[in-house]
Amino acid sequence: MRILVAEDHPSLAQSIAKGLREEGFVVDLTMDGSEAEHMAKAASYDCMVLDIMLPGIEGWEVLSRMRAAENRTPVLMLTALDAVSDRVKDLNLGADDYLVKPFAFEELVARIRVLTRRKHGKISASLIIGDLEIDTVGKTVHRRGQEIQLTAKEFALLQYLAMRQGEVVSRTDIWEHLYDSEDENSSNVVDVYIGYLRNKVDKPFGTKSIQTRRGHGYVLTADTSRGVTA
């Protein structure tokens, strides 16, 4: 899940980014309104955390320009104004949610999860693909009642594929949503992680839920063909 955080208070911005990264999100950070607008245009984010007061262009202006350009990225507004009229204004401009400063970080994470889930048409915190069960809050994966241990990166990859189950997801997409500029820059990394994931999720159970579509990418499907484990 790739998230854009636009907040101009340096330590608040750094702390949010750090906390979200530790939750397994990929975070891009900006402290400037016009930069936020450009970044939202350039990349596809799963969610955007937008402060109302930003230098350059103010947050609500960024939001209304995004919506005018038909950008449907879920936006969570951070606001220091807690009058009902201010909150209603944000929502009317196309914000999906808002949090009034100061907020609990846990709540921010929970709300971002809801927004990203909803973006991909999911309403529950757990994703079920055939006999594969992914708990996005507890960050656990079960197959046929058996827990599968995954690293943070592997989990993020599986979750992203699960969010878009049945769809072919390109390497670029995966790259964009799961890695930030700090990560090693090679699309080969995606293939490597897909390999790791298959080893843990499919191989022990004899299933083929993660499939390769040559020249297109990968797709996660409910593989009910119970492979006979030899």
């Binding site: 330590s11 906390g19 220091a80």
Partner: protein, 453 residues
């Protein structure tokens, strides 16, 4: 109030009734007695005529109820008439008396004299009594009528008084009700002057003026608190988030140190914010915060400017000074320092590198302090707002950097407290000039005399 007005009306009406009543009663009383006495005198005169004659004792029959006694000059009762020309009798006494049978009579004693010289000197004295029945009857009837009419008039007056006072107080009561409805949530209400009597309108208008001032002050205060809490929210959020994120998992010492450092920075910016807020609140109180102190204005300005220059890392802005020497003020030095420091700091903030700031003080018919800069200037539509608390020329500058937009509002509050006024000039694109006018009464006494000369 109603009761007082009613009582006032009643007292007036009743005392008038009593005065008129007493006047009429005694007037009538005196008139009737005079009338009775006149009739007695004329009857007594008739008696003397009757007694006058040739010596025969003629006993005239007096009207029913009348009695008389005639005595000569030495006091003997006589039946002898008096002859000759009779001069008008002299009334010696007039009394009411009650007879043995209980009837009341009016008795007049008259001296009757003749003009004739043959008669021994002295008068013939006639004591004549006549019934006072008619007089008493008339007086009693008068008293009864007056009491009746008085009672009716009094009762009517009372009712009218109560009614009048109620009616005349009704607008006042209505106004009181309107005032009672106003509280801090409904300060936008006004007292309607439409159906108030003319005498009460000035009061209502003054009250409305007061309400307007209160409303403005209250709204300013409300906005101040809202703005202040708004500016406090972000650093508090930063502090909380940094701590929460840090506590979500175990950290090593360097990571924790980094977190603590970041928290300390946030806490410092919070402290600055709170300091500035307190400064603002204090600057607004008109009561003297400190003892007046004698000081040389130019020296204080120099100090403030120098310490501001020192606190800035690179001196990229030229500071020009044109300070009239020897101006000695006697006032709160803290306010003057705050005015100078905030104005010059503001000029620094909006003047880009390579520009200049000019600080000037002079004495004409006022003490004038001018701070001008070659900075970005202020657009005309913002000119009026620069003294508002939390107003920042370039909107969303972060409060974390210490740009609170309180400086100029603190300046204005201090200037007002010192009895002066602020002026801003900012011709398009040529920087801004702030001019502070302070009254000459802030000068030390000796200085003031010089100005007077």
């Amino acid at each position: 109030m109603t009761r007082r007005i009613a009582i006032a009306i009643l007292l007036t009406v009743w005392s008038m009734l009593i005065i008129i009543g007493v006047g009429v009663y005694f007037g009538t009383h005196i008139t009737l007695i005079a009338d009775l006495d006149d009739s007695i005198v004329s009857r007594a005169e008739a008696l003397t005529d009757a007694l006058d004659g040739d010596g025969e004792r003629i006993v005239p029959t007096p009207p029913a109820g009348d009695r008389y006694v005639v005595r000569n000059a030495v006091g003997r009762t006589i039946a002898r008439p008096i002859t000759g020309m009779i001069v008008p009798p002299t009334v010696i006494s007039r009394v009411f008396s009650t007879l043995a049978d209980g009837s009341r009579v009016r008795t007049l004693t008259l001296d009757v004299r003749k003009t004739s010289t043959t008669q021994p000197s002295g008068a013939t004295r006639i004591t004549y009594s006549s019934s006072a029945d008619r007089f008493d009857r008339l007086m009693n009837r008068l008293a009864a009528w007056m009491a009746g009419i008085g009672l009716i008039a009094g009762a009517t007056a009372s009712a009218v008084a109560v009614k009048v006072s109620r009616v005349s107080l009704r607008p006042l009561l209505k106004t009181a009700e309107q005032i009672g409805d106003i509280d801090e949530r409904r300060l936008d209400r006004r007292i309607s002057t439409a159906d108030l009597p003319v005498e009460l309108q000035p009061m209502a208008e003054r009250l409305n003026d007061m309400l307007m001032r209160l409303e403005r002050a209250f709204n300013d205060r409300k906005r101040f608190i809202a703005d202040a809490s708004h500016d406090l929210r972000t650093p508090v959020a930063a502090l909380m988030t940094t701590l929460e994120v840090a506590l979500r998992r175990p950290r090593d010492v360097p990571a924790l140190q980094e977190t603590l450092q970041s928290c300390l920075t946030d806490a410092r910016s919070l402290r600055n914010l709170v300091d500035r807020l307190m400064q603002q609140v204090r600057s607004e109180s008109a009561t003297a915060a400190e003892q007046p102190q004698r000081f040389v204005l130019s020296a204080v300005i120099e100090q403030c400017v120098d310490s501001l220059i020192r606190s800035r890392e690179a001196a990229t802005v030229q500071v020009l000074r044109d300070l009239q020497p020897g101006l000695i003020l006697e006032t709160e030095i803290g306010r003057v320092r705050s005015i100078v420091t905030n104005l010059v700091a503001n000029a620094f903030e909006y003047t880009p590198a390579g520009g200049w700031i000019k600080v000037k003080c002079e004495l004409s018919n006022e003490i004038i302090l001018t701070v001008s800069d070659s900075g970005t200037g202020i657009s005309p539509e913002l000119l009026l707002r620069v003294f508002e608390p939390f107003f920042r020329g370039d909107q969303p500058r972060s409060a974390a950097e210490g740009h609170l937009g309180l400086g100029l509002s603190i300046v204005q509050a201090h200037v007002r407290a010192l009895g002066g006024r602020c002026e801003i000039h900012s011709p398009a694109g040529t920087g801004a000039t702030f001019q502070i006018h302070l009254p000459t009464r802030l000068l030390a006494a000796a200085e003031r005399e010089m100005v007077a000369k």
